[in-house]
């Protein structure tokens, strides 16, 4: 019986090893003081230094951060309001909106990318900052809606009735009761949207032009030319950022649930 338990834990460990080993290797090599070989030649910051000395790369990173911040913010405003409305009200077209949110989440990225590309092309919008922003807001919205909805479904409807009985207007109820209760889910939704936007390759690939480059696409074109320690360092930085945001988001979602 103990052997069976040990085997089960070993299996869990094996899968975690599979999930994490390549990431760990990547991180370790980003600090290795050797350009080509796999041998460990000591610790260095050289590759990170090279990244920060590259003005082009810095600009690309700023572009990504800008798109991620703006798209996460707009998507959070639209998505959080939508989640509240979807939870509280019945209205004409609600099943259609629910269905569209679901379809949007399930659509393969590549289909979404080219569908938006065709839309932008038929509106004659030049590909670049604006098209990228619109696309990122679009794929972020359903994630915010779902995150916030799952939180609202858990809370007490009587609180809203109490607010109403005490004479609060609808606006006051939203501002003083609904928003504070939902704030952890709203912040988590923003963080997850930011992460999605920072990491997206496929949709961005189709909807951005040469005038506006972003980090994942830059990494993609760099990797196609070969593996370098600078890419290791860049990917490690991306991982570090994503990791921090997810842990904060998870912490917020867990709180009081």
């Amino acid at each position: 019986m103990n052997l069976k338990r040990a085997a089960q834990w070993a299996y869990l460990l094996l899968i975690y090893g599979f999930l994490y080993a390549p990431i760990l290797v990547l991180i370790v090599y980003s600090f290795n003081d050797s350009k080509y070989s796999l041998e460990w030649r000591g610790l260095t910051w050289q590759w990170y230094q090279n990244l920060f000395d590259d003005p082009d790369l810095l600009q690309v990173a700023l572009n990504s951060a800008l798109i991620a911040t703006l798209s996460a913010t707009v998507a959070t405003v639209i998505g959080a309001m939508a989640a509240v409305a979807l939870y509280r009200y019945e209205f004409f077209g609600k099943p259609l909106l629910n269905a569209l949110i679901f379809v949007l989440m399930m659509t393969p990225d590549i289909v979404m990318g080219i569908a938006l590309l065709i839309l932008f092309a038929s509106l004659s919008l030049p590909l670049g900052f604006w098209t990228l922003l619109l696309a990122h807001i679009t794929f972020n919205i359903p994630f915010v809606v779902v995150t916030v909805l799952s939180r609202i479904s858990g809370f007490d409807r009587h609180l809203l009735e109490a607010a109403k009985d005490l004479g609060a207007t609808e606006f006051q109820t939203v501002r003083r009761v609904v928003l504070p209760l939902l704030s952890p889910a709203i912040i988590a939704g923003w963080l997850l949207s930011f992460t999605l936007s920072m990491d997206d390759v496929i949709v961005s690939f189709f909807v951005t032009g040469p005038t506006f480059e972003i980090l994942p696409l830059k990494i993609y074109s760099m990797v196609r030319l070969g593996v370098t320690p600078e890419i290791n360092a860049l990917c490690t930085l991306m991982l570090g950022m994503t990791l921090t945001l997810i842990l904060v988001a998870q912490g917020l979602l867990r709180e009081k649930t």
Binding site: Y11, M81, Y89, A115, C235
Partner: protein, 283 residues
């Protein structure tokens, strides 16, 4: 009366956004797939079924079949690796479970491009896997691991495994374990328990996980690029090339419509199976 402004703004914005950037683009995609290729513009306004006919061309059909095969293998491997894992995870004591779960969620959210790149480092000719195998004396010369079909499958499994584990976990966690114990007490063997209890009750989770691995598995062109070399392996690469180099938008659109139809069919199967599972769960 008081609630009208908020409701109007909230529903109006969402409705506008979804119609403008989800419904409309997809309708345009379908329209584009029936148009002809334009001389100056990407599309010419003339109705044709040509693009769909060309999808049946043996050349493209083989890409399609290869891609379906790769995505199906990926899904199957994820399922085989993920099911026992999710089962164990759902049965671990609560104090460990949240930590273990977060450890699955982290790769779920991290960039699959970065993780694919990590896989490249491992599989390179002078990469870690070859070094380990060489030093263990299991092989005499480095193996050509990169730019092969197994490398692409390994990369896709690596990128998509968390997408399989999470829905499976959700289904298995809800499962009333007393059912399994009752079956065991009544003398059911493992195979019977799996076939008659676990499988029917977790089928929605299995299908959801399969959807989340199979569909991206058809489209992740960068995994095929970085781990499979320059060959056109996936429908994703085919579609991308139509929009990028071949400039044949109608054909690319037709291939995407095909993907969407496939998605629709799978979603329909999912809805059907979850309705059945719900019926069975009730006495």
């Amino acid at each position: 009366m008081m609630k009208e402004p908020f409701k109007l703004v909230a529903v109006g914005t969402l409705g506008f956004w979804l119609i403008a950037f989800a419904l409309l683009p997809n309708l345009l995609l379908v329209v584009a797939s029936f148009l002809e290729r334009g001389a100056d513009e990407f599309l010419a306004f003339a109705f044709t079924l040509d693009s769909y006919r060309r999808l049946l061309d043996p050349l493209y059909l083989s890409v399609l079949l290869d891609s379906l095969y790769l995505a199906a293998m990926t899904t199957l491997l994820c399922l085989l690796l993920g099911y026992p894992f999710a089962y164990r995870l759902a049965r671990t004591p609560a104090r460990w479970r949240s930590l273990l779960l977060v450890l699955v969620i982290i790769p779920f959210w991290t960039s699959s491009l970065v993780r694919t790149y990590a896989m490249v480092i491992i599989l390179q000719t002078h990469g870690l896997l070859n070094q380990v195998l060489l030093s263990l004396g299991l092989i005499a010369e480095p193996l050509e691991l990169l730019y092969t079909e197994p490398a692409v499958i390994a990369g896709m499994v690596y990128a998509l495994l968390p997408f399989m584990i999470l829905p499976l976990y959700a289904a298995l966690e809800k499962l009333d374990h007393r059912l399994v114990e009752a079956a065991r007490d009544l003398g059911a063997g493992r195979v019977t328990i799996f076939r008659r209890i676990l499988l029917p009750l977790t089928l929605p989770g299995i299908i959801a996980g399969s959807l989340l691995t199979f569909l991206p598995g058809l489209g992740m062109f960068y995994v095929a690029d970085l781990l499979g070399g320059a060959k056109t392996l996936l429908v994703g690469n085919l579609i991308r090339d139509q929009f990028l180099s071949a400039r044949d938008w109608p054909f690319g659109a037709a291939a995407s419509v095909l993907l969407t139809v496939l998605m629709g069919l799978l979603l329909w199967a999912y809805a059907l199976s979850s309705r059945r599972a719900n019926q069975r769960a009730l006495p």
